[in-house]
C-alpha cells in the first residue's frame, strides 16, 4: 500500500497506465443510445391507453359507480376510513414509533361523503327542483334514518338492473337515495363530476387526488389495473400497459410486496401486510444505505476479491508480465 501522503506523481510512479478517451466513449454511447431510442420510438411508438375518468367509469359500469357512491355516504369506503393525510378515521401505517402518517397530520382534508356525493349534488340542484327536494330530505334526516335508508339501498343494489345506463332497484324504503343516486350518475356520465372534483381555483388543473380517491374506492379502476397486471400483488410497479416493457429497475421494490412478511397478516417483528408500504420504504432505505456504505462493510467489501470479475474485464492489465522489470503494483481493492 502506498503512502497517502505522497504527491500524485509519486503515488502513480511505476503504475502502468492505459490511454483511454472517456469523452469519446461517452459521446459514442449517447449517440448510439439516442439513435436506438429514435428507431424504437418510430417502430413501436409509446403506450397510449385512454385516460380513465369518472365519466368512463359511470358509463361502463353504472352499478359499480352507484354502489361506490352509496358506500361513500355510509362511510364504508377505503378513502373514508383511510386516515391521514385525508382524515382521522384510520390509524394509518406505523412500525413501532415510526408513523409518518400521524407525524404529518391531515394535510389534504377530504370528507368522502361530502366531497364525492353531497357537494356535487348541491351544485347540480340549483336548476333541478326534484333533486333539491331529495337533497333537503336527506340533510334534514338524522343519522339513524339515513343509516336505515342506506342499509336497505345497499342490500338492494346487488340485484339492481341496468337499463340504458340507468340503475333501478326493486321497490323499497330508500328515502331520497334513488333520486340522489340517479342524478349523481347522470352528472358523472355527462362528464361534469370529473370537472367538479378537480376544480381547485387554478387555470390548469393538475390535482387529481379527489377523482382518483373516488375511483379507487370502486371496483372499476382496480379491475382495469388487474387486467393490465398493474396491481401491487402482480409486481405492478415494474409493468407497463400492453406489450411494452416496464420499469424493470423497480423489481426489488415491488418484489417485497410478494413475499413474507409483507404478504402475511401476522408478519414478523411488527412488519406485515397492513403496514407493507411503510415497512418496504424502511427496508429499501436500509438497503440503499448499505449499498452506499459497501466500502466500509466487512465481508461485503471483499466480494470483488472472491468474485474477481474486474480481472476478466481488465484481463490484459492483470495478465502475467513478460519482463520482471515491468512489474507493477496492482490497484488496491
Amino acid at each position: 500500500m502506498k503512502s497517502m501522503g505522497a504527491t500524485q506523481e509519486e503515488y502513480y510512479r511505476g503504475v502502468r497506465m492505459i490511454r483511454y478517451d472517456l469523452v469519446k466513449e461517452l459521446a459514442i454511447a449517447l449517440g448510439a443510445a439516442g439513435l436506438l431510442g429514435l428507431v424504437l420510438a418510430a417502430a413501436f411508438s409509446s403506450p397510449d391507453v385512454p385516460q380513465v375518468t369518472i365519466a368512463t367509469w359511470a358509463q361502463s359500469d353504472p352499478l359499480d359507480f352507484v354502489t361506490t357512491a352509496a358506500d361513500e355516504l355510509a362511510g364504508s369506503t377505503t378513502s373514508a376510513g383511510y386516515g391521514n393525510p385525508y382524515n382521522t378515521a384510520g390509524e394509518g401505517q406505523s412500525w413501532g414509533p415510526i408513523g409518518p402518517q400521524k407525524w404529518f397530520g391531515t394535510r389534504i382534508p377530504i370528507d368522502s361523503a361530502n366531497a364525492f356525493v353531497i357537494q356535487p349534488l348541491q351544485r347540480a340542484s340549483f336548476s333541478n327542483a326534484n333533486l333539491a327536494s331529495a337533497l333537503k330530505t336527506w340533510q334534514d334526516s338524522d343519522a339513524d334514518q339515513q343509516g336505515k335508508w342506506l342499509d336497505a339501498y345497499s342490500k338492494a343494489l346487488p340485484d339492481a338492473t341496468v337499463t340504458d345506463g340507468n340503475v333501478a332497484v326493486v321497490a323499497g324504503d330508500y328515502g331520497p337515495l334513488p333520486v340522489m343516486m340517479a342524478n349523481l350518475l347522470g352528472i358523472a356520465q355527462a362528464g361534469a363530476l370529473d370537472g367538479l372534483l378537480v376544480s381547485g381555483g387554478h387555470f390548469y388543473q393538475t390535482d387529481y387526488t379527489q377523482p382518483l380517491l373516488f375511483m379507487g374506492d370502486g371496483g372499476y379502476l382496480s379491475g382495469l389495473a388487474d387486467q393490465a397486471h398493474l396491481t401491487g400483488s402482480q409486481w405492478g410497479m415494474m409493468n407497463e400497459t400492453g406489450s411494452y416493457p416496464g420499469q424493470t429497475w423497480l423489481w426489488l421494490y415491488t418484489m417485497w410486496y410478494q413475499v413474507f412478511p409483507f404478504t402475511s397478516d401476522d408478519g414478523f417483528l411488527g412488519l406485515n401486510a397492513g403496514n407493507a408500504d411503510l415497512g418496504i420504504i424502511i427496508l429499501m432505505t436500509l438497503l440503499t444505505t448499505a449499498l452506499a456504505l459497501v466500502p466500509f462493510i466487512p465481508g461485503l467489501r471483499d466480494v470483488p476479491r472472491w468474485l474477481p470479475i474486474h480481472r476478466l474485464i481488465w484481463r490484459r492489465y492483470y495478465a502475467p508480465r513478460r519482463s520482471s522489470a515491468s512489474r507493477i503494483e496492482a490497484p488496491q481493492l
Binding site: M17, I18, W235, N239, G242, S243, Y244, G246, T248, Q258
Partner: protein
Amino acid sequence: MDTPTTYFHWGFILISTPNLLVIAGMVVLFAIALVAPFPHAEADDDGRRN
C-alpha cells in the same frame, strides 16, 4: 403493442415477456462487455503502439 402481453408465473415471480426480454438483453450486453476487447488492441497497455 397496445394488446395485452403474456406473463410467466414461477412461484411468487410474475413477469411479462417484454420485461423478461429486456432483462435478458441486459444480461447478454453484460456478458459481451466482459469478453469484448477494448478498441485499442494494437496499442500496448501503457498506451504505446507496437
